[in-house]
């Protein structure tokens, strides 16, 4: 589903954000990118989303090589990738319903599809009763659920989440993780960048640890720290 081959990303010719990373993520996997700030997690997310192109190496997402994709086809790639961010990125003037419907409107989905899909996905994230609220009338956890609903409403092949629990308290974070886990169980590949130890340790999913732009560990059913585990090469 996602494959990186010898990927290096250098900003402004000096800052090396990602260095010689090769990895492969299968369809339906749940993968954590872990590591301290500046280790390259977010850059990997941006590269997969083709917000950036690699300086070196190649990236395949859903069968397409990002650097060979003409710019008019980039939107098509993004329709198969849902994204969730730490800061939710909701439109403050639109209701919960409208925020989710917006994602379908702008890719030209017909109205009856929107009327059908949006309530469904709002029910999935547990916000059916708050469809008419504005984002500032919701808690942080609820806002993140809206943004997950928006990422998932188009049934993407992949959901990319960049620090989705970064702004949330631990109890709320657990709810968000349950939700991402449910989405993963539908067969959707989930890739999540985080530095939340508790979550990674509780989930016991594949962990790809990064340090200064390099993959230092790739471990299935891993934990955040490596103290009691051997380093496993991919």
């Amino acid at each position: 589903m996602i494959r990186l081959q010898d990927v290096t990303k250098v900003y402004d010719g000096v800052t090396v954000a990602v260095s010689d990373v090769s990895l492969e993520i299968q369809k339906g996997e749940f993968v954590f990118f872990v590591g301290p700030s500046g280790s390259g997690k977010s850059t990997l997310i941006r590269l997969i989303l083709r917000q950036e192109l690699p300086t070196d190496g190649a990236i395949w997402v859903a069968g397409k090589q990002t650097s060979k994709l003409p710019s008019w086809k980039v939107p098509l790639l993004r329709r198969s990738v849902g994204t969730v961010f730490q800061d939710f990125k909701l439109l403050p003037s639109k209701t919960v319903y409208e925020n989710v419907a917006f994602a379908l409107e702008v890719i030209g989905r017909p109205r009856h599809v929107i009327r059908n899909q949006v309530p469904q996905v709002l029910k999935l994230v547990g916000l059916a009763a708050k469809a008419d609220r504005l984002p500032n009338q919701l808690s942080g956890g609820e806002q993140q659920r809206v943004s997950i609903a928006r990422a998932f409403v188009n049934r993407p092949l992949i959901v990319l989440a960049d620090e989705p629990t970064g702004n949330l308290d631990p109890a709320t974070s657990v709810g968000i993780m349950r939700l991402l886990d449910r989405i993963n169980r539908t067969g959707t590949t989930v890739v999540m960048a985080t530095h939340d130890h508790a979550i990674v340790d509780a989930m016991r999913r594949r962990v790809i640890a990064l340090e200064r732009g390099r993959v230092v560990r790739d471990q299935s059913r891993g934990a955040y720290e490596t103290s009691d585990q051997p380093i496993v090469e991919a």
């Binding site: 008019w72 939107p75 329709r79 990125k89 917006f102 409107e105 890719i107």
Partner: protein
């Protein structure tokens, strides 16, 4: 539904920055009013020149030494000149008749020319293809031996032609300077609209909205601004076209200068097209570098 959405976005953008949009529309209005006004003005001057055209004659007074055959061959030579439409021979006798008619009330003058026939020479009266050509014809005539003197009908033609040319230059400069100003002002409104909606655009791109889907509302916004300015200027110039036409006119009959409706329609459409193009140019310029992918 998509089209509705795009139009709605453009309308929302326009509402959001009423003042900035207003300034862009006014810039287009001023520019195109001057351009359209100039077009109407030139039309009226060309009408004037046209009226002169039929009456303009270049008169080549012939030396008395020329034989009839020589005059005949000279006439045939002139006939083939590009700028010449027709040549008429005017004999001494005819000149005298004309003189008598013109100065019928001044018998003393008539007496003088009748006594000395060399005073009134024979002449070739040349009708130019266009009034403006008369000076070219004059220049060629004066060097021909046997032609005593060349007289052209009027310096007024010169003045009219020069005025028409000056107007054209003026119009070109208006288009260049005010056109650039209008494009920049429209680009500015587009930039502000893009900035005001940057969050929304970011999300649109994240969820995979097509590039054109993101851009079209801004193009529409620019085109609407250009069209509104152009429409106002067409209405304005149309309303006062009669007065504009009479501004520099030498015509004595005031009603003769009503600008024909089909002329106004044709050029009005041109102005509308020009306004839309200005708006589109402004949008492209305003979005340059933004909204890549």
């Amino acid at each position: 539904m998509r089209f509705q959405y795009l139009l709605g976005q453009a309308a929302a953008n326009l509402r959001r920055n009423v003042l900035v949009v207003f300034s862009a529309v006014v810039a287009v209005l001023v520019m195109l009013t001057l351009v359209f006004g100039t077009i109407v003005l030139r039309w009226s001057i060309d009408q004037d020149i046209g009226r002169w055209d039929d009456n303009v004659r270049v008169i080549a007074f012939l030396s008395d030494e020329l034989t009839l055959e020589e005059i005949d061959s000279l006439q045939r030579d002139l006939q083939v000149w590009e700028q010449v439409e027709g040549v008429e021979y005017f004999s001494k006798a005819e000149a005298l008749d004309e003189f008598r008619e013109l100065f019928a009330d001044q018998q003393s003058l008539i007496d003088v020319v009748e006594e000395d026939p060399s005073i009134l020479p024979a002449s070739l009266r040349i009708r130019p293809t266009a009034a403006a050509d008369y000076s070219a014809i004059t220049d060629r005539l004066v060097v021909i031996p046997g032609i005593r003197e060349v007289s052209a009908a009027d310096e007024a033609i010169d003045a009219l032609v020069a005025r028409s040319d000056r107007l054209r230059t003026f119009a070109v400069w208006i288009v260049v300077v005010l056109g650039a100003a209008a494009v920049i002002l429209i680009a500015n409104t587009i930039r502000i609209a893009v900035f005001a909606r940057r969050e929304e655009i970011g999300i649109m791109k994240l969820v995979g909205a097509g590039n054109w889907f993101v851009r079209i509302p801004f193009f529409l916004e620019g085109i609407v601004e250009g069209l509104v300015g152009a429409a106002l200027s067409v209405a304005l110039v149309w309303g006062v076209s009669g007065s504009i036409a009479e501004l520099f006119s030498t015509s004595t009959s005031p009603g003769a200068l009503a600008v024909p409706v089909d002329f106004l329609v044709r050029n009005g459409l041109l102005i509308l097209g020009f306004g839309a193009a200005t708006g589109l140019a402004g949008s492209v310029f305003g979005m340059w570098g933004f909204l890549r992918d």
